[in-house]
């Protein structure tokens, strides 16, 4: 059986979340260990799939690429969470979502969660770049929690999972892009400057992987992009046995129409983020 489907980037995130939540390693860690999730548009639906509830933290996303440029969610800019605050310590952030032994745990810091992680546990993070070989990269501002997570991962080798819709594709190897993206060298930017970091290990999950995990069917991208809200959409051909393709369609239809919560951004003119080197408040598009 053959099918042709269209998924917008947000719908893809929902589909990938369904597949991620179905993975044995994730289910087992959620039930008998620890799943730590970095808040983002790519992981929002994963938390929902695993817990049956929406995340209750003050923010659901941290750094974001927005129409005006690179920015951070409003709650990230307040108080001690600003990376340039004297009191800021990335290990002390309390924003990560975590599920331990089947229960949502809150108010643990990144450092506390990483201390508890074992080889059987899972860390899930959205990405900003994906190459055609499945390598992923993340944009990094200043002094983020990445170093804390990586330091723990090097010692404990827990599973790293990167949900990555095909919207994130770049045409060159992620490694090559990281060599160019060194934010200290930028003399112009749109908002927060960011470097690109390539994760040394981990499993990326695209729409193609998601369809395979959920149904056993094969998905092949045949087009990308669209209009009127379909910008970044992916068009896929799904093939397999009747049972597989019908199962894939079921999950895809469940993902259609998915929406994320509203994004809260500070007004550029009174934004308190001191490390936004290239504010765009006076630009016509902001």
């Amino acid at each position: 059986m053959l099918a042709q489907v269209v998924l917008t980037p947000t719908e893809s995130k929902k589909l990938i979340a369904k597949a991620t939540a179905k993975l044995d390693v994730v289910r087992k860690a959620a039930a008998e260990g620890l799943v730590v999730i970095h808040p983002s548009s790519s992981t929002y639906f994963i938390f929902e799939e695993l817990t049956g509830a929406k995340p209750k933290t003050n923010y659901w996303v941290c750094g974001v690429v927005t129409p005006r440029g690179m920015c951070v969610e409003m709650a990230m800019t307040l108080g001690d969470r600003s990376p340039r605050s004297d009191k800021y310590d990335p290990g002390e952030l309390r924003g990560l979502w975590a599920i331990k032994n089947g229960k949502v745990i809150t108010e643990s810091t990144t450092a506390e969660l990483m201390k508890q992680m074992t080889a059987k546990d899972v860390y899930i993070k959205g990405v900003n770049a994906l190459d055609s070989l499945g390598n992923v990269g993340i944009l990094v501002g200043e002094r983020g929690g990445l170093s804390v997570v990586l330091s723990a991962w090097k010692k404990k080798k827990f599973t790293l999972i990167f949900p990555a819709g095909l919207e994130k594709l770049i045409p060159i190897p992620v490694r090559q892009a990281t060599m160019e993206a060194k934010q200290a060298m930028y003399e112009y930017g749109m908002g927060l400057p960011a470097g690109l970091f390539a994760y040394p290990d981990g499993k990326s999950i695209t729409e193609i992987d998601a369809v395979k995990i959920l149904s056993g069917a094969i998905a092949i991208p045949i087009a990308s992009g669209g209009l009127g809200g379909a910008e970044g959409a992916t068009t896929l051909i799904i093939k397999g046995t009747n049972k597989q393709v019908r199962e894939a369609i079921k999950f895809i239809e469940q993902s259609k129409g998915a929406k994320l919560p509203a994004l809260r951004l500070s007004n550029c003119s009174d934004c308190p983020v001191p490390h936004c080197r290239f504010p765009v408040g006076d630009k016509h598009w902001a």
Partner: protein, 294 residues
């Protein structure tokens, strides 16, 4: 100098249009011949760059991927349903909606067959695409039942008449597999048991491809490298680039990019309510799925 910039898909279309309007082939055709464009969101900005105003023709785009499905503009659907030949043999050549810029004037109405008879090596045909692969090859989705749609006829005519074909394409359209592989997967479209909208195949298209990277090079000489893609809250499909080069090159690139920022498609996409649509070639016709609601 190095600069980090983010462009939304629509902003990329505007930037690429600025580069195309300055391309030698286009300048020559504007001066001495014909610039023919398939109406689309990608070529709308080119027409605007060249003419200094938005084309006001009835049709400004034909087919599109929308959140609900692969769909067509209402005016084109009406033409397809009232002109039975449009879906049959010779249909693509009777297509009357190409934009033609000749002697400083933009018009719409001349059929492709008539245009092919007049086109030659100094002329240019511009067509937006639906996919670009990591090797830079491009593909166009074809909904027409026979003959590979209008682009199939254009490619065939180009072999005889030797005009230039240019494909503007933002990196929003990047797919991870080769166009050949994607085209092979989409070849069996008439055997699709399920489709969101029109059943489409994909046609590999040869010609000059202009992405954001090429546009920046053409406009300024600076190098652009994609370092990230995607975004939220309206930045879905965005591309983040690192632009590097001599100070004057990068400063010029920033000027063009800032001009493109905030670009909006000035025409409305007219999409019929699926429950009232009579397009017999759409598998969602009359559909009531929750995501089909406007």
């Amino acid at each position: 100098m190095r600069a980090q910039v983010t462009l939304l898909p629509t902003e990329s279309k505007k930037l690429i249009a600025k580069a195309l309007a300055n391309a030698d082939e286009v300048k020559t055709a504007l001066k001495e011949g014909l610039v023919v464009m398939h109406p689309s969101s990608s070529t709308l900005f080119l027409a605007e760059e060249i003419m200094g105003k938005v084309p006001e023709t009835e049709v400004w785009m034909c087919g599109a991927i929308t959140p609900r499905a692969a769909c067509g503009d209402d005016a084109v659907k009406v033409w397809m349903t009232t002109h039975p030949e449009a879906r049959g043999k010779g249909g693509p050549e009777s297509f009357p909606f190409s934009w033609v810029i000749e002697k400083g004037k933009l018009s719409q109405g001349e059929t492709l067959a008539s245009l092919f008879a007049r086109m030659g090596p100094r002329d240019v045909y511009v067509k937006g695409v639906n996919a670009i692969d990591p090797q830079g090859k491009v593909g166009v989705l074809i909904g027409n039942e026979v003959e590979g749609g209008t682009i199939g006829k254009v490619i065939a005519a180009q072999k005889h008449k030797n005009f230039n074909i240019i494909y503007p394409v933002g990196l929003e359209k990047l797919i991870p597999v080769s166009i050949q592989e994607a085209a092979a997967a989409a070849r069996d479209r008439l055997n699709l048991s399920y489709a969101m909208g029109s059943r489409c195949s994909l046609l590999l298209c040869e010609g000059k491809v202009v992405t954001e990277l090429k546009a920046i090079k053409l406009l300024t000489g600076a190098e652009a490298i994609p370092i990230a893609a995607g975004g939220v809250d309206g930045a879905e499909g965005a591309i983040t680039l690192l632009v590097s080069g001599e100070d004057n090159q990068v400063i010029l690139a920033i000027a063009y990019i800032e001009e493109a920022k905030g670009a909006k498609i000035s025409r409305e996409f007219r999409q019929t309510d699926c429950t009232k649509c009579n397009d017999e070639h759409c598998s969602l016709r009359g559909g009531t799925k929750p995501w089909l609601k406007i």
